[in-house]
């Protein structure tokens, strides 16, 4: 279970570029629920994920994960409990190292890294088996550098790596946004499989309205660093893309955005 209380963060405080990125955010996520996070550009949805991952520390407020207060923990320490997939397929894997070496790194997530050889026969066997489950033919390319793979393949491996060990929380930050539609589809199916199979507590930021309504059992819409809507249960399952757009429209109207911004929004979200 994840519990965020009165989380507040201002970047570049006391300068011209001061941004109130997260405004007194309260959020509780039950174990094994799948939360979709949507919002306009700059609404703070990625910032929220980064806050949970520990990329930065809060000005005020607290974060508890699995009954442990992790508010002041640095990013690498939280990694023991949190698996992450980034938007940029280049961010989640080490391009100069082989597939096997990347998986070996993931198999030691959050643990002490000792002087045992990272690759041995039994490890390679395990890697092969789990790569085969992706159905991408990657199990025969263990010794290829990750840099030689496509974005979709890299993202699939990153997803595998993020969930390699037991995770208390899986953070997906628009992890299909940089992929072509087919690869994005494949990654979303893979995500659903893994999340439902392992009953993972998951937060997924997305730009795609279709993903937002078809995935997950709860939806959070963010705006200006605050949670504007929080839908779950029947309300979430009844949700259609049009309803979401209406809600975005409401926000737009309340903010009196000019029409060019509205067009931009539509281009991005429909």
């Amino acid at each position: 279970m994840l519990q965020i209380q009165k989380f507040d963060k201002t970047f570049n405080r006391d300068t011209m570029n001061s941004v109130h990125a997260l405004n007194q955010v309260d959020l509780t996520i039950e174990a094994s629920s799948f939360v979709v996070v949507v919002g306009t550009n700059g609404s703070g949805k990625s910032t929220l994920l980064n806050a949970i991952a520990g990329t930065f520390l809060p000005d005020t407020g607290s974060i508890e994960l699995a009954n442990t207060n992790i508010t002041r923990w640095p990013e690498h320490r939280r990694a023991r409990f949190i698996g992450r997939v980034f938007q940029d397929p280049f961010k989640g894997t080490a391009p100069g190292m082989t597939i096997a070496e990347n998986l070996a790194l993931a198999s030691g997530r959050g643990r002490r890294r000792g002087l045992k050889q990272a690759l041995n026969r039994s490890a390679l066997g395990v890697f092969k088996g789990r790569l085969a489950s992706l159905n991408m033919g990657l199990e025969d390319r263990l010794n290829n550098p990750i840099g030689s793979l496509s974005g979709g393949q890299r993202q699939a491996i990153t997803l595998l790596m993020a969930t390699w060990l037991k995770t208390d929380l899986l953070l997906l930050d628009e992890h299909t946004a940089a992929l072509d539609p087919r690869a994005a589809d494949q990654i979303i199916r893979l995500t659903t499989d893994i999340v439902s199979q392992k009953k993972l507590t998951t937060m997924m930021v997305t730009h795609s309205m279709n993903q937002a309504v078809s995935q997950g059992d709860r939806l959070i819409m963010m705006h200006k660093g605050e949670i504007m809507h929080d839908l779950s249960g029947a309300e979430k399952s009844r949700l259609r893309p049009d309803d979401l757009l209406t809600r975005f429209d409401e926000i737009r109207r309340s903010e009196q955005l000019d029409s060019s911004a509205a067009q931009l929004l539509e281009a991005n979200y429909v």
């Binding site: 990694a79 990347n102 030691g108 997530r109 890294r113 990272a118 790596m161």
Partner: protein, 316 residues
């Protein structure tokens, strides 16, 4: 012949330096100029201890350890206090100049009549009953020269084997990933600051070991002997990669050793042909400059070629 053998021996000793520079420059993408200071530091610590009749093995290990400490300081400045990586190196290198003078008490410590690792190695063949002059491939070489030569090879081979194994361990792969993609390895729970600091420790330890052995080989330590060493290490790493590419760590380390030797030989030949030793550092710097620029132009050329071949493809 003696000149060639001496060049190769120094080449092997300096390949330890190159292995150290390889770690900072290629794994962490950081040209760590601490090397200039830690090279002389290793020499100074070992020389002073050897003059005080300390066992040369202990003295050499102390030199290595001193280098590790220098790397530790640079790493801490960079990762804990967020000082730019080049500047951290420059600060430590500058400070080390005074430290080295303090350690030695003067600018030059001779150890011509002391027992060093090199003189121990040189005496070994005679103790084992070898003749004073051995004949290798038709050349007559004094057995002591051959022994120091073999000892230098032994050192770098041992270090390469250990490094090659180390960079395949869980810790070693995490260290390589820190250079390759810090965001990713942080998300996998590794403290990248610690990795960089540990890497710089090992790197500068090797550089200091190289300085210590060179001082023992030439029979003196000098406070100036570290100047330009980082550039020399870079030159070796670059030549090495040009020779073997950068496919794996083991192979690259072999390349780096070959690069050091080749560079030493080039210098020996240039000096033989009448190059003024004053110009040595200038030539080294120009060489590294050219080596850094050429791949860029090479890349452009192949790019253009690909594009033109692409254009012809579309016509067909």
């Amino acid at each position: 012949m003696n000149l060639l053998l001496a060049s190769l021996t120094i080449g092997f000793i300096l390949s330890l330096l190159s292995a150290g520079v390889y770690i900072s420059f290629r794994i962490f993408h950081m040209p760590d100029i601490t090397a200039d200071g830690s090279f002389a530091l290793g020499a100074a610590v070992s020389a002073v201890l050897i003059v005080q009749e300390v066992n040369p093995v202990v003295a050499t290990s102390a030199g290595f350890a001193a280098g590790c400490v220098a790397g530790l300081v640079t790493g801490m400045l960079h990762t804990r206090f967020k000082i730019n990586n080049l500047l951290s190196g420059i600060l430590v290198m500058t400070a080390l100049y005074s430290v080295n003078l303090h350690i030695m008490g003067k600018s030059n410590v001779p150890m011509l009549y002391e027992t060093t690792l090199m003189t121990m190695a040189a005496k070994l063949p005679t103790l084992m009953g070898s003749e004073d002059v051995v004949n290798i491939l038709g050349w007559d070489i004094s057995n002591s020269d051959a022994a120091t030569f073999l000892f230098a090879i032994l050192m770098i081979v041992a270090v390469s084997v250990v490094l090659n194994r180390f960079f395949r361990t869980h810790l070693g792969t995490a260290m390589r990933a820190t250079g390759d993609n810090p965001d990713m390895i942080r998300a996998l729970g590794v403290n990248t600051g610690n990795m960089i600091t540990l890497g710089l420790c090992i790197s500068n330890g090797l550089v200091a070991l190289s300085g210590s052995l060179l001082a023992q080989y030439q029979g003196f330590a000098d406070v100036q002997m570290g100047i330009g060493m980082i550039v020399l290490g870079l030159a070796s790493v670059i030549i090495g990669e040009a020779l073997v590419g950068s496919a794996g760590i083991g192979l690259t380390l072999c390349g780096v050793i070959m690069g050091s030797l080749l560079f030493r030989l080039l210098i020996a030949i240039a000096l033989r042909w009448g190059l003024n030793p004053t110009d040595l550092k200038l030539i080294t710097a120009i060489f590294v400059l050219v080596a850094l620029i050429v791949p860029r132009f090479g890349g452009k050329l192949t790019h253009r070629k690909q594009r033109s071949s692409h254009a012809s493809d579309t016509k067909v």
